[in-house]
Amino acid sequence: MQEFEPKIVAFVCNWCTYAGADLTGTSRIKYSANVKIIRFPCTGRIDFMILMKAFENGADGIIVSGCHPNDCHYSTGNFHARRRWIVLRNLLNFAGIETDRIQFSWVSAAEGFKWADVVNNTVAAIKEIGPYENYRKIAVSTLFNEEGASNE
């Protein structure tokens, strides 16, 4: 049987983590290819509905990453985001959504190694937990998506 390769979607901020991920690449640090990086202007822009859409469209895990506190390009975006994540994690956990599938992190533009670690560790953790079947079963996308339907 083929090993389960999780689909990970990473929502990262333009100024820190995206640049950090770039540094990982230019430093030739090898890391898991399971991650699809989506660039946002700021972590403050990452609405929780976007995370829900990722799960809906077949993500098994999500990474949300941005500038360290006090490093935000817009001064306070990540502070606001942090508050929202605290509440969101509470809500998702209460609603029965597996919050251990969402990894939040701070990765600066200088932390190429940390980005590789965050991705590798998340991929390893999600491999352990397995595909997010529960969510996929109810996802609208599986109604029309043959690949999704055959997964059931």
């Binding site: 929780f48 606001h80 942090r82 929202r84 609603a95 029965g96 959504i97 919050t99 701070w106 609208v140």
Partner: protein
């Protein structure tokens, strides 16, 4: 009751207000909201133990606002809704005439927001022990069990949006639910759209919900969707020291921050 009728008649006659939002007799034995516009309609007002609805939601409806100056019969949760609306710059002090209906059936006039705030700190604004119990029971479950529980509940949802219509805090002219580019919430009452809708609702009410329970009361399918927002009240209070609907000049917990906000999940 006579006090109420006398007071409202006087208010309408001397044009202090143009419409009074209160309770009236609906079909069968139901209580409904009525809008008293002149003293000849005042007799329609009723006040019984069934009059528990939070009427503050009507204050922002444009059909009501355009009538003129508003008066409202407010219970405790309506007062809290009004404080929350004021903190969100939706109503101004002195804009609405507030007649408070206490649990013991007496009516008192609140002249300004300050007196409402002073009253609110003296009463119990928490959720009921029954609701606490239900939340604790859910919290004791595993994530998978909760998933199954909420899936079963959300499966019943017919997407009538009665919860949204009943909620005094849901006043956006264009709700995320109505946005179709992009289509955040699938329109059909399918499990996915239902889950998205209810999570979106709860998230947008996090830290703003004043636990009046109107959403669950309005639900024709008896989904305990108030528990979703109630559950967030305690963590928001303990982590951010914020309670919705207590002060007219409060800053919304999620539109501010502290540099040293504590969390344990960001690596």
């Amino acid at each position: 009751m006579n006090d109420l009728i006398k007071k409202v008649t006087q208010l309408l006659d001397d044009k202090t207000i143009n419409v009074f939002i209160g309770y009236g007799q609906g079909t069968a034995s139901r209580i409904r909201t009525i809008f008293v516009k002149n003293s000849s309609q005042v007799e329609n007002l009723v006040y019984t133990s069934d009059c528990t609805a939070n009427l503050a939601g009507y204050l922002l409806k444009h059909e009501v606002k355009k009538i003129g100056k508003l008066g409202i019969l407010a219970n405790d949760s309506a007062l809290r809704s009004m404080m929350q609306l004021a903190s969100e710059f939706q109503i101004k002090d002195g804009e609405v005439y507030v007649l408070h209906a206490a649990k013991d059936g007496s009516f008192t006039e609140f002249a300004d927001f300050q007196s409402i705030e002073a009253y609110l700190v003296t009463i119990d604004t928490g959720i009921t022990s029954d609701e606490q119990e239900r939340i604790a029971k859910l919290e004791a479950m595993t994530v998978k069990e909760r998933w199954i529980f909420w899936n079963k509940e959300f499966e019943k949802c017919i997407k009538c949006y009665a919860c949204r219509a009943a909620c005094p805090m849901c006043y956006c002219h264009r709700c995320t639910t109505d946005v179709n580019q992009p289509q955040w919430i699938p329109v059909a009452s399918h499990e996915q759209g239902n889950l998205d809708y209810h999570l979106m609702r709860a998230m947008h009410l996090a830290g703003r919900c004043v636990n009046c329970g109107e959403c669950a009361n309005a639900c024709p399918m008896d989904i305990p969707l108030n528990l979703l927002t109630y559950q967030l009240i305690a963590p928001i209070r303990t982590t951010f020291d914020a309670t919705a609907g207590m002060k007219a000049d409060a800053v919304y917990a999620l539109s501010t921050f502290k540099p040293d906000d504590k969390e344990n999940f960001i690596i």
